[in-house]
Symmetry: C2
DNA sequence: AAAAGTATTGCGGGAACCCGCAACGTTGTG
DNA sequence: CACAACGTTGCGGGTTCCCGCAATACTTTT
């Protein structure tokens, strides 16, 4: 079995490569890519059955890399290995996993045994394995409310800096509907409940989304590129 | 000599502890704190001459921890060891280094030899050592323009979501001056030059500042706490 | 099918924001 | 001192944003 490790942190890469060679004798060959772009190219060129993928990387983040890999080779087993339990990552991943595919999500703060277990379960056994800390992410948000997919889309557009009018055009909604979605977004993010002077809700929404880890820098970058591309080709 | 390592990533911590014990025989005792709060407490309680400090940590980030440590023990030598070359970090550090103190800033992507060199130079020899990648950060910004300290302060307030009026009050400026600073801020961040539909400049400014690494999540958190504290005690 | 609930849209107005114009103070240079 | 350069401040107006109110749709419940 061939496994590809996509990881830009030298210390983490060394550790995971060691772990694989020690604990998974079934793996006959490993390869190491040091960023998302490189990893994507290797994965498409070679014939890897399993991938360990870091999420936060330069050039191309793990989710974008995984999307193109899965779109060409949907049977590939991918174990995401990340420092952060961001809702943004989970949302990103859950939108790109192909049906019947094996994947997993393990935090880098997890113990070695947990990591090794996940390596075996996902790469060898083809199971789905997601840490419990991550699973309950959506629930604890604010007043137990999760962002609807539609609200999340608006949040992304807001985060890019688009105006209401532009968002309406993009999403094929009326101006007022966009503003309604923004209202419920503000509500769910808990904006307007602070004491002290009133705030600029738009900026505050982005601020809160970042601090609550509903968004992160990687998805901002992805959304930006997506927006640029779609704008140019239309 | 006693050295404290403040690092929440288990793999990085192990590596740096190994490196110290192998390469720096002068170090007789090492201690490991797993987050900023813990590290701060240990540093103030024990008598450490040198500290290796991660920047991105939960509970309390490295800069905030270093600030309180230096305010009580300004002679402490601190080597910052970070994944990211964010302008936000440099700004934060340069504002808290006490005069005549020894410190350094090394990226985690640096080679082992560079890291070991920095360990020796900063902790043992008391030199100042900053990687070259970091030093030129301020210059390449946009049209060769660096943010003035005053503009940076406004950017922070904007990022918190404060309104112009509130910012004016906080900084003891007139409303119009705040708006002028925002104008030059927009200019330096390159906002308003994009083609395509017009944008919400406020949100866009935050977005760009994050993507250009003028700001990052840690400074947002710090600014937030600072704002809350100052508001309550006034 | 009726009723109740929810999402979408329009209208309108007050507040905040963006910014050109012009007046004023400060600083520094010949 | 004069003059220029620059930061600060006020004024005014055009635009965007925030959001209550109310009229339709569309969905679910009874």
């Amino acid at each position: 079995m061939k496994v590809l490790v996509v990881e830009d942190d030298q210390y983490h890469a060394r550790y995971i490569l060691d772990a694989i060679s020690e604990e998974l004798p079934e793996v006959t060959e490993t390869m190491h890519a040091i960023n998302g772009l490189d990893g994507e190219a290797e994965a498409l060129a070679g014939s890897f059955e399993g991938i360990v993928m870091d999420l936060q990387m330069d050039l191309r983040n793990g989710i974008d890399a995984a999307r193109t890999i899965w779109s060409r080779k949907p049977e590939t087993r991918i174990l995401f290995w990340s420092n952060y339990a961001d809702e943004a990552y989970l949302r990103g991943i859950s939108r790109i996993v192909p049906p019947n595919s094996a994947y997993g999500y393990v935090l880098k703060t997890a113990s070695s045994s947990r990591l090794k277990l996940a390596l075996r379960a996902v790469l060898l056994e083809g199971q789905i394995m997601v840490g419990r800390e991550l699973d309950q992410l959506g629930r604890q948000n604010r007043r137990g409310s999760v962002l609807e997919e539609s609200e999340y889309a608006i949040l992304l557009d807001l985060a890019l800096g688009l105006q209401d009018k532009t968002i309406a055009k993009r999403q094929n909604l009326s101006l007022r509907t966009v503003q309604n979605r923004l209202l419920s977004l503000y509500d769910k993010l808990g904006i307007g409940e602070e004491d002290g002077p009133p705030l600029n809700k738009r900026v505050r929404a982005l601020n809160c989304a970042l601090r609550n880890k509903v968004l992160n820098l990687q998805v901002l970058e992805s959304a930006e590129m997506d927006y640029e591309n779609r704008r140019k080709t239309s």
